[in-house]
Symmetry: C2
Subunit: 351 residues, 2 copies
């Protein structure tokens, strides 16, 4: 056996690139912030094997659960490049909140997974700080998480971030889209930018093709390219949830990977086609910049990016205006952008 | 803007290394297998934004939830190297099941996250196959998941695998360890090998230092080095759950990262120290191989690896023998390995 001479040296876990105490210390310093996310219902103390949650104590005794897992894609690389670590956690929390909101669910708790090539406490703490902010903004508990130091799989400085949300639908009234009918109207809530999709293409275009740096300014952008790319994924919880009690919302779609053409059909019943006017919503300047430099076709762009459409609401024709008024009264922008017609399930997008 | 000449070419998401249709097709072929995990309680159809779960329909209406997120660490690299993709999913499911079992929880549902540098359908399908097997073995639903193609962050062929479990504690009787008293006995259920911890050190020792290849044989191992490393993380659900109704189990610990010294104290009340005899359980040969080649100290080894101790049960002194008999009658191996004594919270490990 070749390595016998190493016997005197005595290999340790640290020699293999893993320092489990470092992670524990870094997270220990975040304890109070994590505890501040603990809404009624959280029963465990930090450090237990699993996070314990009492639905009745959280006021969610009667309802069904909705759960979803997601990451923020290669947006982590922009964060890494800019050394800004406290926004991707908010992105992730908000993304997950929106993914269950479309079914009428309110968030209850969230668990995270952070993987790094080499554990850097300030990076880990920045990421957790963002997760804590995202959880608090949406009134959910950061119930648990895992920190993995994986040398070799992730390069030095690289990290990935994954989140899982569990929420509940009050009274069990899940919104599936099955009530959507021809004649229904579609309303759009604007995105803040790319949210968490299309970052591989965006970075290829802006950094590799155009040779821009995150700190550069470019036509149309208010701040730098990096700032535009890191704009936090919006949570639509506070805008949308109050609507669900007052109006008959037939369906909702969160526009993520696959864009409008992939996401809106997920809630359409058979025989319902959506006609969407792409021009109905002002497009954040970052999209035009990427499209122009990359020479990206409109068809491609609308499948990769949200193109300004963050979240869609499908409502019966009579309720469209009152619902929009309600949103605007609460300071929310909303744009009528299309309707449901008879036809094969899918989306007709006019540019 | 440098890249203007690319306008004619027209960049696509595929050019940036992301093919969203490929993932959808690969998962579409797994649909029936995923549906086969759907225990009563699952309400959604595949492709919905979030997975929907009705606790009452699953017989879990009265109880509290326990949730946990984990990965399988750099065991993914062994799987990749051996091109065996259907075991790490089982590892992950079983690991998560054990992590909530220690609190008295039964699994309900599971969500996965698979990230890859470049999406290879057979790899993705193998991983999902393993997750499906792991979910079925433990009677839980594979409720949702996310597949992320992240060129640049993960190298070609590399992948990471993350899982989140949600279970419930019948009647809300969470086992915290607070009933543990001096005089209690500790029983160990054997591990099948490294389970999912210590792989960075194990690979460094066996592959980098000793120059072994996964297909090599080595002293003491029944199969190859790779086979020993890939041995599936055991689920203790079916061994342990029946005990919880018949006996007063005061506490349980799943021995993962940090070993016995980090995991057992997580359930000990103040004033309780555990005395554990490391020699009480037969040690799988892979550990001796790694320790010998790496010259790893016993102290270090017991913090990095489980060293044969998969799962610990702490029971009142009167019940130890009946509980062991019950396990053995059901074909389970169990080893008395120590006791609780008065002292500062911690573990005295004798080698």
């Amino acid at each position: 056996m070749a390595g016998r001479e190493n016997q005197r040296k005595g290999l340790t876990y640290k020699d293999a690139g893993v320092d489990i105490d470092k992670a524990a210390r870094a997270l220990g310093e975040m304890k109070d912030k994590i505890l501040a996310t603990h809404i009624p219902g959280v029963l465990h103390e930090l450090g237990s094997f699993g996070g314990i949650f009492d639905l009745e104590k959280a006021g969610a005794g009667k309802g069904v659960l909705v759960a979803s897992t997601d990451g923020v894609g290669t947006k982590v690389r922009v964060a890494q490049r800019m050394r800004v670590y406290d926004t991707v956690g908010r992105d992730l929390a908000n993304h997950c909140v929106n993914d269950i909101l479309v079914q009428g669910a309110r968030p209850l708790f969230f668990l995270d997974y952070v993987a790094m090539g080499s554990l850097e406490p300030p990076v880990l703490q920045g990421l957790v700080e963002g997760l804590v902010l995202g959880c608090r903004d949406n009134g959910m508990a950061l119930l648990g998480g895992e920190t993995a130091e994986m040398p070799g799989l992730y390069q030095q400085g690289d990290f990935d971030l994954v989140g899982t949300i569990v929420g509940y639908v009050p009274g069990g009234k899940v919104i599936t889209g099955e009530e959507i009918r021809p004649g229904d109207k579609v309303l759009a809530l604007p995105s803040s930018g790319l949210h968490t999709n299309g970052y591989s293409l965006a970075q290829k275009v802006l950094f590799a093709v155009a040779g821009l740096r995150p700190e550069d300014r470019a036509r149309g952008l208010e701040g730098t390219v990096g700032e535009a790319l890191l704009a936090v994924h919006r949570s639509y919880l506070h805008a949308v949830f109050p609507l669900l009690e007052k109006f008959h919302v037939h369906g909702m779609a969160h526009i993520t990977g696959g864009g409008i053409p992939d996401n809106l059909p997920r809630i359409l019943p058979a025989g319902c086609k959506a006609r969407i006017d792409a021009g109905a919503i002002p497009r954040p300047a970052i999209f035009d910049l990427i499209l122009e430099i990359g020479g990206i076709s409109m068809e491609e762009a609308y499948r990769v990016f949200n193109m300004g459409f963050g979240f869609l609401l499908v409502v019966p024709p009579g309720e469209e205006e009152a619902l929009a008024r309600d949103l605007r009264k609460r300071g929310e922008e909303v744009f009528p952008c299309g309707e449901i017609v008879e036809g094969e399930k899918g989306v007709d997008l006019s540019f």
